[in-house]
């Protein structure tokens, strides 16, 4: 069905709490991404995963970590969330970097 599913869609957390964002895809794509989107900044890459347990930092990895234990599932973890991590987070997957990126609908995270 070519779908990327993100959970939850909306999340409110207090500063210092841990946050878990989850993403699943049904296309058997090897490569998955986490981006954040902020007004005026576009999409900034946080982490890339090339396959199970094969993850690399993107452009803004500080304050984040990821986990990929199954090819179809990719998690973003914020340990002790900060207010400047308030953003919309998008997960995406692709067969190759020069193919279409398929995005989820996003998770809107507010850290108070």
């Amino acid at each position: 069905d070519m779908k990327v599913t993100q959970m939850p869609r909306y999340l409110i957390k207090r500063m210092g709490e841990n946050v878990l964002l989850e993403c699943g895809q049904d296309m058997s794509h090897e490569t998955m991404y986490w981006y954040r989107q902020d007004p005026g900044l576009g999409l900034q890459l946080i982490y890339i995963s090339y396959d199970v347990d094969s993850n690399s930092e993107g452009d803004i990895p500080k304050g984040y970590r990821v986990s990929r234990k199954k090819r179809e599932h990719f998690s973003l973890i914020l340990d002790s969330a900060k207010t400047n991590q308030t953003s919309v987070y998008f997960c995406a997957s692709t067969g190759t970097p020069q193919n279409t990126l398929y995005f989820g609908a996003g998770t809107r995270l507010s850290v108070l």
């Binding site: 990327v4 991404y33 981006y35 005026g40 900044l41 576009g42 999409l43 890459l45 890339i48 690399s56 993107g58 998008f90 995406a92 970097p97 020069q98 279409t100 990126l101 995005f103 989820g104 609908a105 996003g106």
Partner: protein
Amino acid sequence: QQQVRQSSQSLTVWEGETAILNCSYENSAFDYFPWYQQFPGEGPALLIAIRSVSDKKEDGRFTIFFNKREKNLSLHIKDSQPGDSATYFCAATANSGTYQRFGTGTKLQVVP
């Protein structure tokens, strides 16, 4: 640094006009340029893409014009419709690259 630049943060056109969205890039190794369309509350979705061996790519009302020498490209939306109102992201990647780099986006409003 911003490797892909979109000069306009926003653009307003009348229904029926041609909207022109501009994009430029720095890395000469970039050779694949997708444009993504994003509606509010949704993730970006591929609209149209071009490879650097071509100078034009057309798909219905959407056309990409590509100038390799000047390192810029533009997305033309002919006969703009209110339903085209969205944010458009230009992206780029190299054949040897690992991920697509995004511009900051242009928010297009088509006024009836």
